[in-house]
Symmetry: C2
Subunit: 217 residues, 2 copies
DNA sequence: AATAAGGTGTTACGCAGGTAACACATTAGG
DNA sequence: CCTAATGTGTTACCTGCGTAACACCTTATT
């Protein structure tokens, strides 16, 4: 319980609650925690969303798997982030994608009506919540914007330019495997590999397993 | 003013407000209306979002235009729908797409802080708002789900099956032009045309300018 | 240290779909 | 009602990328 409280305290969304409130909600079942093993499914595609969830620790991915088994990663969320924020108040609150624990994770769930209660009494909680779902929505738009109907080259450039800015270096450290990068862009791994090789041959980049170095401006 | 009030009254989001409130907000500048001509740009890509907007009348499209001039329609909104709901509370409130009036439209704008006031004092307004943005978010997910990395055939089937269910008939009335359908799916018009021809030759469908008839189950 | 499990690069093959260039049909606006 | 603008169908051409099948790494697991 103490550990849960400590983790909960840290999340921006729950910062506006007092220790007493959190402990009380944990006690009366308003807040429920659940632990998931690595690669455990947190929510299946089509499942009903009953709670707003906050990731207390670990790493969670939202992905779509089509009939032919192709995988596309829609989003990755780490500790302090929120799940189901856009779903819980919808008229059709069914998860449109599969949610999986990429690493062992602990999730805190809050029932719909308790969330409303918090909105009503705690304006800061509401503001934080609104900011979070806005960001999520923007992320989805960005996904469409950057990756829909673009060539692999364009997706890769888009990713590299973003990372260059974020990491502020031409020698980009790949936090993820190339396989994961391919899934995020939504292309075959081999196709990504081929495109990277082309870019290398054209003198645009150099790369190894861990880094990509940008040779252009 | 009377006309504006009448239109505003009708929208689900403003239903929880009294006539007096609406008139007062229109009077003191909290609510601002603006009219746009057909094909007028309501918001440019990159513009700051300062207001939550409600479409009082007309039809509005959100579209992305890439460097090479290709157009993809992300969403279409008609009277009573909301614009900017996911943007206004984001930390980076810049329109990620272009918003255009497809038909002459009247828009009602509410400043950010006034929206918060309404949330605080009017719980029904908050609930309606949350439902609306949830639906918008779901729409974006659906877009990704249905149209990303799918063949034209799959996109078309997805669209046809949806419309068959919605219109409850095998003779689907195309509410939009084939050009618009191509833009919604995000493919070249000629490619859509080619695919439809193939489907016709395979005996799956029959079609003319206004309708598509489904010959399969 | 040994073995399994997963990530990586490469390449030949084929096809879905973008491009461009038509002619023709339909709609909107004066 | 006429003309301009916009939508529609078609087809030849070409390319980007998915598929499949390898061999070779690198990282977990015992």
């Amino acid at each position: 319980m103490n550990e849960t409280l400590r983790l909960a305290r840290r999340t921006p969304l729950l910062q506006s609650l007092t220790d007493e409130e959190i402990v009380s909600y944990l006690g009366d079942g308003s807040f429920i925690t659940a632990a998931y093993a690595k690669n455990g499914v947190i929510h299946f595609d089509g499942e009903v969303c009953r709670r707003l969830e906050i990731i207390l620790s670990g790493k969670v991915v939202v992905e779509r798997i089509d009939e032919s088994g192709n995988l596309m990663t829609i989003g990755e969320f780490i500790a302090d982030d929120m799940l189901g924020g856009n779903l819980i108040f919808s008229r059709n609150p069914y998860y449109p994608m599969t949610v999986t624990a990429r690493e062992p994770s602990v999730i805190l769930g809050i029932g719909r009506e308790r969330v409303f209660e918090l909105f009503y009494h705690n304006h800061e909680f509401l503001r934080n919540y609104l900011t979070l779902i806005s960001e999520h929505s923007m992320m989805l738009s960005e996904r469409i914007r950057h990756y829909v109907n673009k060539s692999i080259r364009e997706c890769v450039m888009s990713y590299l330019n973003y990372e260059r800015k974020r990491q502020n270096t031409n020698r980009i450290a790949l936090g993820i495997s190339k396989k994961a990068l391919a899934e995020r862009i939504g292309v075959q791994r081999t196709s990504l590999s081929r495109e990277l090789a082309k870019m290398r041959d054209e003198g645009l980049i150099r790369f190894d397993n861990k880094t990509i170095e940008l040779l252009y401006d």
